[in-house]
């Protein structure tokens, strides 16, 4: 059974059709890319999957249950985590607190334990400390654990955002332009990391990316969108040589 199955997804903003009849099936363990020129509707698809927008039409089934109409935090708790096109860290919190915040909905203590700092509170805090520092170590951020996250360099902020998404223990990770603003060396490192994360955390990954090198290098399957429509789908070699894709990106030849 597919992990995520979207059928006939259509999203209107007033009279504008941002996404039309979008279909996708993500099998467990796949890395799939979603590409297309600016304004093609890629981020809208992400926002619909994560419950920011409600789809005008269509079904979204994740892990056997429909997630249409669910709130963003409920969808995250079901196992879909995301990063953002522009980094959205909790910039005034420390690096380690960013991770702990993503663990909040699993925290075994309640409001009264927070007020009274009961035994349960201390146990929970000790557990989340260990969990967060272990996760930060994987991303080489443990040395900066107590720094304010807004003061980290750009690349580290990108890594922290992915680490924070992983702290919710997702089954599906969706990355919105993870390589934005990265130089080729950093992008290479990112590609290695994405594959490694998939294996290590048993993830399925869906990503939007503009750097073709990254998309072609890491994705097993690519879907191309233009003006809300899916224009091409297939393995990287196929997509690369499709004339419709070239046309969408570069315009019609004379």
């Amino acid at each position: 059974m597919a992990l995520l199955e979207i059928e006939h997804l259509t999203e209107f903003f007033g009279g504008l059709r941002a996404v039309s009849d979008f279909n996708i099936r993500l099998e467990h363990g796949e890395i799939v890319g979603l590409i297309g020129p600016n304004g093609a509707g890629k981020t809208t698809v992400f926002n619909v999957i994560t419950g920011v927008y409600r789809p005008t039409q269509g079904t979204i089934v994740f892990d056997g249950q429909s997630i249409v109409g669910k709130k963003t935090h409920q969808i995250t708790q079901l196992g879909i985590a995301r990063t953002f096109q522009t980094i959205r860290l909790f910039s005034q919190s420390s690096v380690i607190d960013n991770i702990k915040i993503a663990y909040h909905f699993r925290m075994p203590y309640g409001n009264m334990d927070s007020f009274l700092h009961t035994r349960k509170y201390w146990e929970g805090e000790r557990m989340v400390d260990d969990y967060a520092i272990d996760l930060l170590r994987i991303f080489h951020l443990d040395q900066q654990a107590d720094n304010v996250s807004g003061s980290l360099p750009y690349g580290a902020q990108r890594r922290l955002e992915i680490a924070r998404a992983l702290a919710t223990k997702p089954k599906l990770l969706i990355l919105d332009e993870p390589a934005a603003g990265m130089n080729p060396a950093e992008a290479d490192e990112l590609m290695t990391m994405i594959r490694w994360l998939r294996d290590q955390f048993d993830l399925t990954i869906l990503l939007i990316e503009h750097q073709m090198r990254v998309v072609m290098g890491v994705c097993e399957r690519i879907k191309v969108m233009d003006f809300g429509e899916t224009i091409c789908e297939g393995v990287p070699e196929y997509v690369r040589n499709d004339p419709r894709v070239c046309e969408a990106y570069l315009g019609k030849g004379a």
Partner: protein
């Protein structure tokens, strides 16, 4: 016991006990010409510092740590003040003459005041916190005036004449216990997973939702807790002044707490303690300046806004506020 586990906590407790003993001695033992050094007026001033600290810290939970903008905090104080006074004065007629009956009733009455204020907080917060933006400010402002107006036209609460004859249950001990317990409880909450979620909502609500936090629920909860502590403060306030009037809890009063908070530093508990302490004591220290006192007040505010936009404390905390954090297990590995 858990809270005594570090020497710093022990030292903090000792300092507070010492402060209490010194103030108690100064206010009871006759030193100068048969009069104690600290007369009743100074004790009352100190009590107001305590009440204002709890009000400001509870406001800071919403405005500073959760990043919402509530501007009607005095309304919840009024709910607590009138509820507790209604119980002790109008219904049960308890007095200070028999403390064994009086104090349990008083404690239950102020807690009841807090609970009713929390209920009012839920009614105000639940619909308006679902929305983003400035709606909360508008709704809290109206709720503040609404509460005041309802009290004005309710005969059993004294109406526009105010409610007098309230027994003076609030003494030095009550103030110490009330202030310290309230601030410690709110401090604990801020330094917990819920407190981290509050700050997450402040920094980026979208990212907080995407991290699995039910932001609406968290905002409403904080608002309700904040209203609870404002209600308790109101109860203590009523049993200090012995007379309450609806106009004591007008929008101007709410504005005062906003000023205390933002001058002290809205994103720091220490700031929410320093701000009200300065503004309650400063006018007394400047007594010799007579009417020029009122110039100093806004001047402090203007200077803070120019030179320290994040308030006096900024993001810093006094060390006794902080919770002993993670032992550096493996951080250096």
């Amino acid at each position: 016991m858990r809270f005594l586990r570090s020497h710093r906590t022990l030292a903090t407790i000792l300092v507070f006990v010492l402060a209490y003993v010194v103030i108690k001695v100064l206010s009871t033992v006759p030193l100068v010409g048969g009069q104690p050094l600290m007369n009743r007026y100074y004790v009352q001033l100190l009590a107001l510092v305590g009440i204002n600290i709890v009000m400001t810290v509870s406001l800071g939970m919403v405005n500073g740590f959760t990043g919402q903008f509530s501007i009607g905090h005095a309304g919840f104080m009024a709910v607590g003040a009138y509820t507790s006074a209604l119980i002790t004065t109008v219904w049960l007629h308890v007095g200070t003459s028999n403390p064994w009956v009086g104090y349990p009733v008083f404690v239950l009455a102020i807690i009841a005041g807090g609970v009713v204020a929390a209920g009012a907080g839920y009614l105000v917060g639940a619909p308006s916190l679902r929305l983003k933006g400035d709606y909360l400010a508008i709704v809290t402002l109206s709720a503040n005036e609404l509460i005041r107006t309802v009290i004005r036209v309710t005969p059993v609460l004294g109406g526009p004449r105010g409610l007098g004859g309230i027994p003076r249950f609030t003494n030095l001990e009550v103030i110490f216990v009330f202030t310290i317990v309230s601030v410690v409880l709110m401090r604990n909450y801020v330094f917990s997973s819920h407190g981290r979620s509050m700050k997450a909502v402040r920094d980026s609500e979208i990212a907080a939702e995407a991290s699995g936090i039910n932001t609406t629920q968290q905002k409403v909860l904080v608002f309700v807790f904040s209203a609870f502590f404002a209600g308790i403060s109101g109860g203590v306030f009523a049993h200090l002044l012995q007379f309450i009037h609806p106009d004591n809890f007008s929008f101007v009063k709410s504005l005062e707490y906003l000023i205390y908070l933002y001058v002290g530093g809205s994103m720091s508990l220490s700031g929410a303690i320093v701000g009200p302490a300065i503004f309650t004591l400063l006018p007394e220290l400047l007594r010799n300046l007579q009417q020029w006192r009122l110039v100093v007040y806004p001047l402090v505010l203007i200077l803070t806004m120019i030179f320290r936009t994040e308030g006096i404390m900024g993001l810093k905390e006094f060390s006794f506020i902080l919770i002993p954090q993670r032992q550096q297990k493996g951080a250096d590995a």
